[in-house]
Subunit: 223 residues, 2 copies
Amino acid sequence: MDIAEKIAGEITLSEKPGKTIRKWRETFHLSQGMLADCLKISPSVISDYESGRRASPNTASVKKIVEAMIKLDEGRGSNIIKQYSTKLSNAIFDIREFTSGIPAKNFVESIKGRVVASKDYLDRKIHGYTVMDSLKAIMSLSSSDYLKIYGWSTERALVFTGVKYGRSPMVAVRAHPLKPGMVVYQKPEKVDGLAVKLAEVEKIPLVVSPLSLNKMIEELRKL
Amino acid sequence: MDIAEKIAGEITLSEKPGKTIRKWRETFHLSQGMLADCLKISPSVISDYESGRRASPNTASVKKIVEAMIKLDEGRGSNIIKQYSTKLSNAIFDIREFTSGIPAKNFVESIKGRVVASKDYLDRKIHGYTVMDSLKAIMSLSSSDYLKIYGWSTERALVFTGVKYGRSPMVAVRAHPLKPGMVVYQKPEKVDGLAVKLAEVEKIPLVVSPLSLNKMIEELRKL
DNA sequence: GAAAACATTCGACATTTGCCGAACACTTTA
DNA sequence: TAAAGTGTTCGGCAAATGTCGAATGTTTTC
């Protein structure tokens, strides 16, 4: 279930689809002109929709509009979800997007990591990372905050510090709809068997790094 | 986000809306005739939609169809999510919807429960419950499966058995977008402090029952 | 204040949809 | 096998939509 589906569903089920279209356009901070340009149609079409001149747009039109809004937001690198990031908690030590994807293997090497689960899934690219304190993150971030730690891309490594056995982070990852490209535990005492199993089921590489927090961030900054 | 929105969104975003309409109609085990009767239209209309004769149904039609499907399933007391319960892992011991909401306090009393967190939020109604094995559920249910354990209503009690300290279930609840009306631990050894904190943050009553699994189910069946 | 950006209204019209019902086809039940 | 239940196809047609562009209005920027 992604955001496109949610928006499309909401528009479709609305008594006034046009109003809902406008609501979402404004949420994305898009002008009618931008939307119309993206769709290569006249701006008056968007205005007609939003005013309710057409009481019941067809699915093809709604689909095009929703997809255009998402595409435009993506193109600006500041999606609506990121706008809500201003209130990040102090659970996050570092969060970065790479300018281009880093091979997962290189990422693991940079933190002298050892893969303990889903080793077969290291052929992917990592587009960013988030370093956070395990307990604080779980304590302070509810499910709707998770998109904050994912930043622009879910193709990222979630790095948990303050991990003893690492069961809770993997449970949280398991329960949440969005999945990271990799999970890293920084200097755990030991890795919990259930965490390994959950990582295998989710096909998410689970990596252990022996570096100190500062050293690890230092190395990640070099990527 | 409810299931109507998901279905409507999926239909709208589909390249072949008609096929998706059919998929969901069959998922609900409804005949075209039933759907047509409910909507007071000719069955051939439904057939035309599903065949794709109309490439792009309008939002009003999709809305009516989706709402009719949901209404018909409700009227039969066996919603589609419940039907998936037959394929649920053996993590689920019991799942039920009440015909009307039960006061949370009565629910707690029936299982001789003791509230250990969010006691102030017991003024709500509980519309159903799901009894599951904590570890098995976490292991076998990913985030998209959570709707299975929630049944038709999220206003339900999630009852976890096989709980030692109860941290993982609360972590999972914390991470997931949908929140239950109550969380119950059946005979835990002890209750983990973080679990209590998470329950307080989420404003979800956390209840401990001293009953055996069978005894507790027996009592819940009496509600 | 002027220009640019953004938005609205509305006539027009080709195209598509919502819906009907007749005729037919297929599947299930007794 | 016959009847009942379910589904399909398609001609027909009124209504609605997608879209244009001209004319107009509103807001923002310099």
